[in-house]
């Protein structure tokens, strides 16, 4: 075949790979079609890799195969073994790898630009010939390496915070906004300068500064804002792939980058909306730090009712409908399996059981849904906030386990509350609220006291979430 015809076939192959990735995301519109979607994603990836290897004269097939097997093996084993509760940190770790891969590819492209077809050879009268990288490619490369490096160091910090290696408390540096803006301006300025001068020091300084800014951006952000951070880093990893796609003129990479970039951006938006916070205020950081001490103080004196597992079991047995509201505490206690057992027992007693999920429950979007699915809770018993909120008024028992801020009615009434305006689950409208909590002292991440604890129709079940539910299950026999 003539050269041009082959190029067209290759472009077509990358385009098909891109379409496969679109179908992969499209499949996620319902659990029924989701697995087919995932297969499309795998097929697209195989096509992209196969086409690349077929098209290029590969001088080092054995090494490449080794790298794929080694990396793939690690990834596959991790995916098989990881506990579902650890999904947020796994995703953060994976993001960091995409970021690092983007950085490495950009560095390789900078060192060997002719291999990527982004440079012209210049043969001067004197001295050695050298490659001049196209100006547009320099911008794309600079952006690619910068976004990749930010994704990498930001995700490493997010991973350490989610994995508990680092405190979830925000770390506030003095003058951090000034420092951050200066570093960002420096990166953009240097990328601009890179167009006129392709000296290595510029490229490496951009890389170094970007690693630093990723780190600086994430350390002031507290644990409860992690769903936004993880989504944001997801978005960055997409833009990094897109920037490298521009450099390589590769449609599969550009389509994928755009998909992933918008996906992460939309998830960040959904998470921010669910907390009634602006994206800027999340990025500025510091939420859930100092205010915690102030809100907890006055909580101690007010009267509240304490219940036992037997009381809870009795109340729920008598109920017509029970709505279970899980939160991050359920994940920490690994209580999802025993919770499903409780649900089964209740159903055997003729009780209707539903689950209500707040969009920011847990540490990443959809975290609770995965844990419940792991525990074999059918997905048609699990409802989103807007679909179930009107039902609390006709519900006998709301069973809150490991959630706090997302049930706080202060968000609806108290204009001075830090969570004012955040959409919350109306658990207090149920006839009885059973609130599983470790102790009365602690407050939620937002650092505000929850009115629900002290209401007449609330019964506090103070214990470890898993132990409490186990005892309730025993009492239900």
């Amino acid at each position: 075949m003539p050269e041009g015809a082959i190029d067209s076939w290759v472009a077509l192959a990358y385009l098909i790979a891109g379409v496969c990735f679109i179908l992969a995301l499209r499949g996620l519109s319902s659990p029924a079609s989701s697995r087919r979607g995932n297969r499309f994603g795998m097929a697209g990836m195989a096509l992209a890799v196969g086409t690349t290897l077929y098209m290029h004269h590969v001088a080092s097939m054995a090494e490449i195969a080794g790298a794929i097997i080694a990396g793939g093996g690690v990834g596959w084993l991790t995916a098989r073994r990881i506990a579902m509760t650890a999904m947020p940190q796994l995703v953060a770790a994976f993001h960091s790898l995409v970021g690092m891969a983007a950085v490495l590819v950009a560095c390789a492209a900078f060192l060997n630009p002719t291999a990527f077809g982004i440079a012209d050879m210049v043969v001067p009268m004197l001295g050695k010939p050298f490659a001049v990288i196209h100006p547009v490619s320099r911008i794309e490369m600079g952006l690619g390496v910068a976004i990749g490096a930010i994704t990498f160091s930001g995700s490493v910090i997010a991973f350490l915070k989610l994995n508990g290696n680092m405190s979830g408390k925000p770390i506030m540096l003095p003058g951090r906004h000034v420092i951050n803006l200066a570093v960002l301006a420096g990166i953009l300025g240097l990328i601009g300068f890179f167009v006129t001068d392709q000296s290595p020091w510029i490229f490496w300084t951009v890389t170094g500064l970007s690693f630093a800014i990723g780190f600086l951006l994430i350390i002031p952000i507290g644990g409860a804002d992690m769903p936004v951070v993880v989504s944001m880093l997801n978005s960055y990893s997409g833009w990094a792939a897109a920037a490298m796609g521009f450099t390589l003129h590769n449609t599969a990479m550009i389509i994928t980058g755009a998909l992933v970039g918008s996906s992460g951006a939309i998830l960040s938006y959904i998470m921010c909306r669910a907390m009634n916070r602006s994206f800027i205020s999340v990025i500025a950081g510091g939420f859930g730090g100092d205010s915690a001490a102030a809100g907890g103080g006055q909580a101690i004196d007010r009267p509240w009712k304490r219940g036992s597992a037997e009381d809870a079991a009795f109340l729920m047995q008598q109920a017509e409908q029970v709505i279970i509201v899980p939160g991050y505490g359920m994940a920490v206690a690994q209580a999802q399996h025993v919770l499903r057992e409780m649900g089964d027992k209740l159903k055997a007693h003729g009780v209707r059981v539903k689950y209500a999920i707040h969009p920011v429950a847990g540490r990443m979007p959809g975290h609770m849904n995965v844990l419940l699915a792991e525990a074999n809770v059918p997905y048609d018993e699990v409802f989103e906030l807007e679909d179930i909120n009107s039902e609390f008024a006709q519900t006998d028992v709301a069973f809150v386990i490991g959630a706090n801020d997302v049930t706080n009615p202060a968000a609806k009434t108290d204009k001075t509350s830090p969570i004012y305006g955040m959409p919350v689950l109306d658990v207090e409208k149920a006839k009885t609220v059973l609130f599983v909590k470790r102790s009365m002292g602690g407050v939620g991440y937002a650092g505000v006291d929850n009115e629900v604890f002290y209401r007449d129709n609330t019964m506090m079940l103070l214990a470890d979430a898993k132990k409490m539910v186990e005892e309730i299950v025993k009492s239900l026999d």
Binding site: F21, L25, L28, S29, P31, S34, R35, N38, G41, M42, G44, M45, A48, T52, L53, H57, A59, S60, I68, I69, A70, G71, G73, V74, G75, A79, M84, M87, V91, V98, A101, A102, L104, C107, A108, A109, L111, N112, A115, S237, G238, T247, A258, L259, V260, G261, S262, S263, L267, I270, M364, P365, G366, H367, N369, V370, E374, P378, Y379, E381
Partner: protein, 92 residues
């Protein structure tokens, strides 16, 4: 391909992404993040080009390292997505 046709593909793909992602059910947002993670590792294409090329030894090894990292993500991302999706079951 010239810059403007690439930019066109990119902009249109952003719009596709916008509509496709809004149609994803919130219950599957965690698998969505895992699978976007896996597909963004299509950056492996760039890594393979670097690893396959001759001319710079350092560039080749950087490429190989990137291939390994991206492979962790590709296999890990798709496998963990598959594992999660297999858990979503209907009643009965």
């Amino acid at each position: 391909m010239d810059f403007i046709s690439i930019l066109s593909i990119f902009v249109l793909a952003c719009f596709i992404g916008y509509y496709v992602v809004w149609s994803v059910t919130p219950a599957l947002h965690t698998p969505l993040m895992a699978v976007t993670n896996a597909i963004s590792s299509v950056i492996v294409v760039g890594a393979l080009i670097a690893a396959a090329a001759e001319g710079s030894v350092l560039s080749k090894w950087l490429g190989l390292a990137a291939v390994a990292l991206a492979s962790v993500n590709i296999f890990g991302g798709f496998a963990v997505t598959e594992r999660m999706l297999a858990m979503y079951k209907k009643k009965g």
